[in-house]
C-alpha cells in the first residue's frame, strides 16, 4: 500500500496555500522597511491601533458574557425552533458586513427600532461612538464564539454532567463546576477567533459607527482611508494588523485549537 499523498489532493492543496499566502507576500514585498520605525511611531497610527485593540477586546468580553450562555442553550436545551435559532445565530457569518452595519443602524440608529427609545429615554445614541464600534464588531464576531463553544459542548462527555446531577448538583452548579472547565479550550479558541475577527472588522464598523480618528477610526478604517493618499502608510498599517493577528493566532493555536 502506497503512503504517498495522491497528487489530485496535493496539487489543489498547494494552490490553496499559495492563494492564501501570496497576498501576504505581496504586502511584505512592498513594505517600506527602511522607514517602518518612524511611520509606526506616528501618533495617528498608534491611536488607531490602541482603539482597535480596546474595541476588539471589549467586543470579545461582551461576546463571552452573552455568547457562552447562548451556546449552552443551543447545545443543552431542546426547545421548538432550535434549528431556526441556530441558523439565525450564524447569519452574521454570511451577511456582508456593510449590510450588517445598515441593519444595526435600522435597529439601533437614532431613528431605529430600538435606538429611537434609547435616545428618547436615556439620551443614548450609539452611531458615531466608541461603544458603537464595539457593538458593530461584536455583531460580526459573536457567531465565531457561539459556534466554537457549541461545538465544544457537543463534543464534551455528558456523563460528567450526569454524574454531577446525580450527586445533587443544580444545573447552574454543574455548568459552573463541571461544564465550564471541560469546555475551557473551546471557549478560548472561540474567544481568539472572535477577537481576531473583531480586530479586522471594517464594513459594519464604518457603516454603523462612522469614521473619526481616536473615536471610531480603527485600524482597518485607517488602512482604507490611507490607501489612496498615502499607500505606504496603508501598507504599514496592514502589516501591523497582520502581525498582531498572526501573533495571536500562532501563540494560542497550539494551546487551544489543537
Amino acid at each position: 500500500m502506497s503512503r504517498r499523498a495522491p497528487w489530485v489532493l496535493v496539487v489543489p492543496a498547494l494552490v490553496a496555500f499559495a492563494f492564501l499566502v501570496l497576498p501576504v507576500a505581496g504586502l511584505l514585498y512592498r513594505a517600506p522597511w527602511s522607514t517602518l520605525g518612524t511611520r509606526l511611531g506616528r501618533p495617528e497610527i498608534l491611536e488607531a491601533l490602541r482603539l482597535s485593540v480596546i474595541c476588539a477586546t471589549l467586543a470579545t468580553v461582551f461576546c463571552l458574557i452573552v455568547g457562552v450562555p447562548l451556546a449552552w442553550v443551543l447545545a443543552r436545551v431542546s426547545f421548538p425552533g432550535r434549528r431556526l435559532v441556530r441558523a439565525l445565530v450564524t447569519v452574521p457569518l454570511v451577511l456582508p458586513p456593510v449590510v450588517g452595519g445598515v441593519a444595526l443602524l435600522l435597529a439601533l440608529g437614532r431613528n431605529g427600532l430600538v435606538g429611537r427609545w434609547l435616545d428618547r429615554w436615556f439620551g443614548l445614541t450609539l452611531p458615531f461612538t466608541t461603544p458603537g464600534v464595539v457593538l458593530a464588531e461584536a455583531f460580526v464576531a459573536l457567531p465565531f464564539l457561539v459556534i466554537s463553544v457549541e461545538g465544544a459542548l457537543r463534543a464534551a462527555d455528558l456523563r460528567y454532567e450526569d454524574a454531577a446531577a446525580t450527586l445533587g448538583a443544580s444545573r447552574w452548579t454543574t455548568f459552573r463546576r463541571v461544564t465550564l472547565p471541560l469546555i475551557a479550550p473551546g471557549i478560548g479558541a472561540g474567544a481568539v477567533l472572535c477577537w481576531a475577527r473583531a480586530l479586522g472588522e471594517f464594513g459594519a464598523t464604518i457603516t454603523f459607527a462612522g469614521n473619526y480618528p481616536g473615536r471610531t477610526q480603527t485600524m482597518p478604517l485607517a488602512v482604507y482611508l490611507a490607501l489612496e493618499t498615502d499607500p505606504q502608510a496603508a501598507i504599514v498599517l496592514s502589516l501591523v494588523l497582520l502581525a498582531v493577528s498572526v501573533l495571536v493566532l500562532a501563540g494560542l493555536r497550539g494551546r487551544w485549537l489543537s
Binding site: 437614532r110 459607527a209 490607501l227 489612496e228
Partner: protein
C-alpha cells in the same frame, strides 16, 4: 458526475462569450469612466447621451466613489479610460497616469439637514453646536476639503461626528437621520429629493468646487477617452450638466 458535466457546460458557454467579446472588441467597446460620487446622477444621463451620439461606443460604464479613491485606483486598474474628480488635488494623485486635465463643471456647497430642518439650522455658525451631529467629508476627500475651507472662512470650528469617504455618504447620513447636518454639494441635494432639506451658504462664505476630467494615459481607447473629455464641454453635455445644477 452531473455536477462536473454542468460545470463543463458553463465553462464552454463562458469561453464562447469571451470569444465573441474579443472578435468584436476592435470596432465597438465600452468606455469605462471612474468618477466622483457627486457626479452620479449627471453622468448617468451624460453617458446615455454620449453613447447615442457615438455609435462605435456600445456603452459608457461608470464607477462612482470618492474622488481620491478613484484617482488612487487608476494605478492598479487594467481597464479605465476616463477619470473625473471633484477637485484638482485629487487629480494630482493620478498625475502620472493621466493626460491633460480639463475643468468641465463647477458647483457650490450647501448645508444639508433633515427634511423640514427640524433642528432649525440657519447659519454655518449653528454647526458649532456640540449637541448637533455634524458629518463632513474626510480631510483627503474633495467634499471635506471644500467644507474645511468654508468653515475656516466663516471662522467656525466644527467637531464632526464622522469623516466620510465621499459626498454621497455624507448626504446618506443625513437622509437616514443618523446625523443632523453636513456640508455637501448643492447638486447632491437633487438626488435626496424630499428626504433632506438644504440651508444655503451665503455667497461670500461659499467656495466654488471645480470638477476636472482627464483621459487615462494607458487606456486601450485613448482617442475616444480624449474625445469624451472634450465632449464634456460640448453644448449637449453642458445642457445636461446645467440640468443637474452644475455651472458649466
Amino acid at each position: 458526475m452531473p455536477f462536473f458535466t454542468r460545470l463543463a457546460a458553463v465553462a464552454v458557454v463562458t469561453l464562447a462569450l469571451a470569444g465573441c467579446g474579443i472578435a468584436s472588441g476592435d470596432e465597438r467597446f465600452t468606455l469605462k469612466v471612474l468618477a466622483a460620487s457627486s457626479l452620479t446622477d449627471a453622468f448617468g444621463e451624460l453617458g446615455a447621451a454620449y453613447q447615442a451620439a457615438n455609435r462605435h461606443v456600445t456603452g459608457v460604464q461608470f464607477e462612482f466613489a470618492g474622488s481620491q479613491e478613484m484617482a488612487g485606483d487608476i494605478h492598479d486598474r487594467e481597464h479605465a479610460d476616463v477619470l473625473a474628480t471633484a477637485d484638482s488635488t485629487s487629480m494630482d494623485i493620478a498625475a502620472e497616469q493621466i493626460s491633460r486635465r480639463r475643468a468641465f463643471a463647477q458647483g457650490t456647497m450647501t448645508i444639508a439637514v433633515a427634511a423640514g430642518n427640524p433642528r432649525h439650522i440657519r447659519l454655518l455658525a449653528d454647526l458649532a453646536n456640540p449637541r448637533l451631529r455634524v458629518v463632513l467629508g474626510g480631510p483627503v476627500v474633495p467634499v471635506g476639503r471644500y467644507a474645511a475651507r468654508i468653515l475656516a472662512k466663516a471662522g467656525v470650528t466644527v467637531r464632526p461626528s464622522s469623516e466620510e469617504a465621499d459626498a454621497r455618504t455624507v448626504l446618506t447620513r443625513i437622509r437616514t437621520g443618523t446625523a443632523d447636518a453636513g456640508i455637501v454639494y448643492v447638486t447632491d441635494m437633487r438626488s435626496a429629493g424630499v428626504s433632506a432639506s438644504s440651508v444655503p451658504i451665503p455667497r461670500e462664505q461659499n467656495v466654488t468646487a471645480t470638477y476636472f476630467a482627464a483621459a487615462v494615459q494607458n487606456s486601450a481607447h485613448g482617442a475616444t477617452a480624449r474625445a469624451f473629455v472634450t465632449w464634456l464641454g460640448s453644448p449637449a453635455a453642458v445642457t445636461i450638466l446645467r440640468k443637474y445644477g452644475f455651472m458649466a
